[in-house]
Amino acid sequence: MTVIAGRPRVAVAVFPGTWSDRDFAHVAGSVLGWETRLLWHTETDVGDADAVVLPGGFAHGDHLRTGAIARFSPIMRAVEAFAEAGGPVIGSCNGFQVLTEAGMLPGALMRNDHLEFRCDWQTLRVEHSSASPAWLGDLSDGDLIRLPISHGEGRYVAADETLDALEASGRVVLRYSDDDGRINATANPNGSERGIAGVVNERGNVLGLMPHPERAAEPEVGGTDGLRIFRSLERWLHHQPAAAERRL
């Protein structure tokens, strides 16, 4: 087994209306020096990517429902196959919405309870970080991180049984919290059930979160907590077979 010794290779999906693709590419490419490639939604292959990003924005104008049209894009077949093979996938904001519409993560994201678009810095509490070594390996349970949020439809909903099952299996990994780590209605920026800001799939390789880690990756923009998610991936990849071998 060869491990990935070189730079991580990350592919960033771009749908018509995506807006955070360049920010992700900037952080991965310019801040971290990774190999970065943008994937247009009509492409059918993620290539030799070690990880795939579904960024924020308003794919297909958010028409019908957020992510409802994007999930049928050709590139999503490739992303599903990549995730099925264990490849790490992160969906932030609109990317999270695409993942839920595609059935890659449970639940759905609905209009914020106050009906406003909310753009702000938000404190998040990390839980069950061990559920996703690829994305949260450098974080610890109880850590409070600050990331920007920027959404009008971020209210996480799911059936009570689904929520209970997610909690029981430790797949709720990020919750909106106040600066003391308390989960309550005041800290909840959109009315999400149980303050849920991020969940992972059963295998732990697919993470969906409403906040934007790529907007908190340089001190000049107000914070670097988002880098901890990128660094988790980098460290995790160094212990994995190279993408080419994973596919053999």
Partner: protein
């Protein structure tokens, strides 16, 4: 599609499941009450889509709309779809919508 295909008009209603919070409906309800409609107890918002399409017969049209709803038009996590279908002779010949 056979040469006998007929034109149909489906009205698809997508509603939020009972119990799913509907802040938009609540806001509309509050506005109605403030406009003097004090008896308004509840408003639930949703979507209405009119879909003009062709199918061989009514059963085929029903099946096609059911598939549209199942796969795409409604998200079963928080929505339910219902629909009515009628033969629509006006498609292509003039304005079919009011």
């Amino acid at each position: 599609m056979g040469v006998t295909a007929m034109r149909w008009m489906a009205e698809v209603h997508v509603a939020l499941r009972p119990g799913i919070a509907d802040p938009e409906g609540q806001t509309i309800g509050a506005a109605l009450r403030s406009l003097g409609h004090g008896s308004v107890a509840e408003v639930r918002s949703g979507k209405l889509m009119r879909i003009a399409f062709e199918a061989d017969d009514h059963a085929a049209a029903e099946a096609e709309v059911a598939e549209m709803c199942r796969r795409f038009l409604a998200n079963p996590v928080m929505e339910v779809a219902s629909w009515e279908i009628r033969a629509d002779e006006q498609i292509g010949d003039g304005p079919a919508l009011p």
